[in-house]
Assembly symmetry: C2
Homo-oligomer: 336 residues x 2
DNA sequence: CTGAAAGCGCTAACAA
DNA sequence: TTGTTAGCGCTTTCAG
């Protein structure tokens, strides 16, 4: 009994009266084929609506032309932009992107990597959920090209794309100092992240450089950042005069918390955000922020990945560090 | 010469001193295997770090356990949320998601579909770039399960997930009317989209129902929505007293344009947005909006897809229509 | 319970 | 220039 499946190269070959290999050659635009046959085979392909099975091709070629991408949160615009850039870069090279959200959970992240490896991805672009004492290295095959971005993995021989976390944080803090702020608190979450730690370090450097006491307010996870908690942190005996919030989520929560506390940004307290976003300029006062080049991060990551795909996994890892842009609007104390 | 590749089932079998088939049975947890051999094989798998090649498996099984997802723009939070939900739903069933951004270009969309079909995706979730006279149907194999969301494809036998575009727009418009607005203009882009057309229709119904003249201001594409253009539309002889903007991008552009024109929302003009987003509540005045359940759309889409995967492509298509939520804040004229 | 052999759709030696 | 013959890594009749 014939199967009613999609036509295969065998069907095409039979129908065109040529051998399988000839059909294959036509498919691959190999040069050594009689023109008449080429035309005939192509006509048959057209007529049958033939589509090559890329999986079968990949099995033979030992590559899938698929790259995996794992981020903590697909609905965060920062990662959305990065995924978009990676996908576009991959497409330009004929690759597809298998994407996954780890939710920031290392366990999930590992199991997603496992899944992708079993699917024979040719490379992996990942924004690790947890960076330092990382056990990802154990489960990633040593010959799989990997590029980390946003958060690097310590001591791993992977290419990485990051931003100037420390310098940018220092510069931002300095800007608040320049506006006369003295009791600046830094609000962040998940201090075990390298990204967070670096930003805090930059903040510290600026504060200590100016002879002021750093006040770090870090929670284990963003969901612990409540108005109640924030209040206790900024309304102590020494009331804070500025907040430097370390990522998009923290900024959002801080903004809401401040409103709940009846505090007005710009009047009662200054605010500067690490991460810029749409409509930040439409807030009252307009929010000043450190803007990360999110698409650029993705674009660089995929670029590095393809270079690695060529050069093999042996040559020493490369890191790209991208600059940020301090967007001064009003919440930091600037006037328009 | 032996290859230094990853171990295969053959390697495992040889190493464990069993036949290939026995190893395969162990891998698939088939019941009829001697327990000792099971243990032995598993030990070898462990030791060798064996990972089954899912592509090879899929070739045999004629399925990839991969589903494709195509959206116009991955960096739009609406789609980011949907992708996230789809990916999570797919993961729960052991499938991966191949994702792609069409940029809203039908050509790109088609070529992405082609790519995915060649990769043997088991199903497709798509937010079409262009809905009506759609030629997607021609290139999608008739036995491929497809679920459209956000924008349906006219006359196609696909499952679909949409929202109550018309009713929601009518309700929103009515709300503006209730606040005393009379010269309400609707600002939208890409009127050829079903989504847009439905929203405009709902707006019309409300306006005509109240005996007022609809004023539709539609541009072919969002990038034509400039401050200059908006000015000409709302400052005519009959100056508009309210704007109903039809999607996130239009709202953003409108907000900026109004500021550039020196018009203050709430005082000079009312504003209601189709699409809610983070920080809409932090604007001054807080923005009122029709909130779409973006994650829910994705979740329903993947649910329908898996049902379709079971039932086959024959049974009649299902459509799910999700309600929206009118979030009343201040920009529509409400007071808090 | 186990294994030899065939084959999923395609490509690549190796002849012809 | 072409076709034959082996596989890629896995599953699966179908005999032992």
């Amino acid at each position: 009994m014939k199967k009613s499946q999609a036509p295969t190269l065998v069907d095409v070959a039979r129908e065109a009266g040529v051998s399988l290999k000839t059909a294959s050659r036509v498919l691959n635009e190999s040069s050594n084929v009689n023109e008449k046959k080429v035309a005939r085979v192509q006509a048959v392909m057209e007529r049958l609506g033939y589509r090559p099975n890329e999986l079968a091709r990949g099995l033979k070629a030992r590559k899938s032309e698929a790259i995996g991408m794992i981020v903590p949160n697909l609905s965060d615009p920062f990662f959305g932009n990065a995924v978009k850039a990676v996908q576009e870069g991959a497409r330009a090279k004929g690759h597809v992107v298998i994407v996954s959200s780890s939710g920031g959970y290392p366990d999930l992240e590992r199991s997603e990597i496992e899944t992708m490896v079993r699917r024979q991805i040719d490379g992996l672009v990942i924004a690790p959920a947890d960076s330092c004492k990382n056990n990802l290295v154990r489960i990633i095959p040593s010959n799989l090209p990997v590029v980390t971005f946003d958060e690097p993995i310590q001591d791993a021989r992977y290419d990485s794309v990051t931003i100037t976390n420390r310098e940018s944080a220092r510069e931002a803090t300095q800007h608040l100092l320049d506006h006369g702020a003295r009791r600046i608190v830094v609000v962040g979450a998940r201090p075990y992240l390298h990204t967070c730690a670096e930003r805090v370090a930059g903040y510290r450097e600026a504060m200590e450089g100016a002879g002021h006491t750093p006040r770090t307010c870090l929670v284990e996870h963003e969901n612990m950042l409540t108005a109640e908690w924030l209040k206790s942190q900024i309304l102590g005996k020494k009331r804070a005069d500025a907040i430097f919030s370390l990522n998009w989520v923290c900024t959002m929560l801080t903004l809401h918390a401040l409103r709940d506390l009846g505090m007005e940004v710009g009047r009662d307290i200054l605010l500067l955000s690490f991460d810029d976003f749409d409509l930040a300029d439409m807030l009252t006062p307009a929010l000043s922020a450190v803007a990360q080049p999110s698409e650029k991060l993705g674009a660089e990551a995929i670029r590095l990945l393809f270079e690695r795909l060529k050069s093999g996994t042996e040559t020493s890892p490369r890191s790209v560090v991208l600059p940020t842009r301090l967007v001064l609007r009003e919440s930091c104390g600037c006037r328009r």
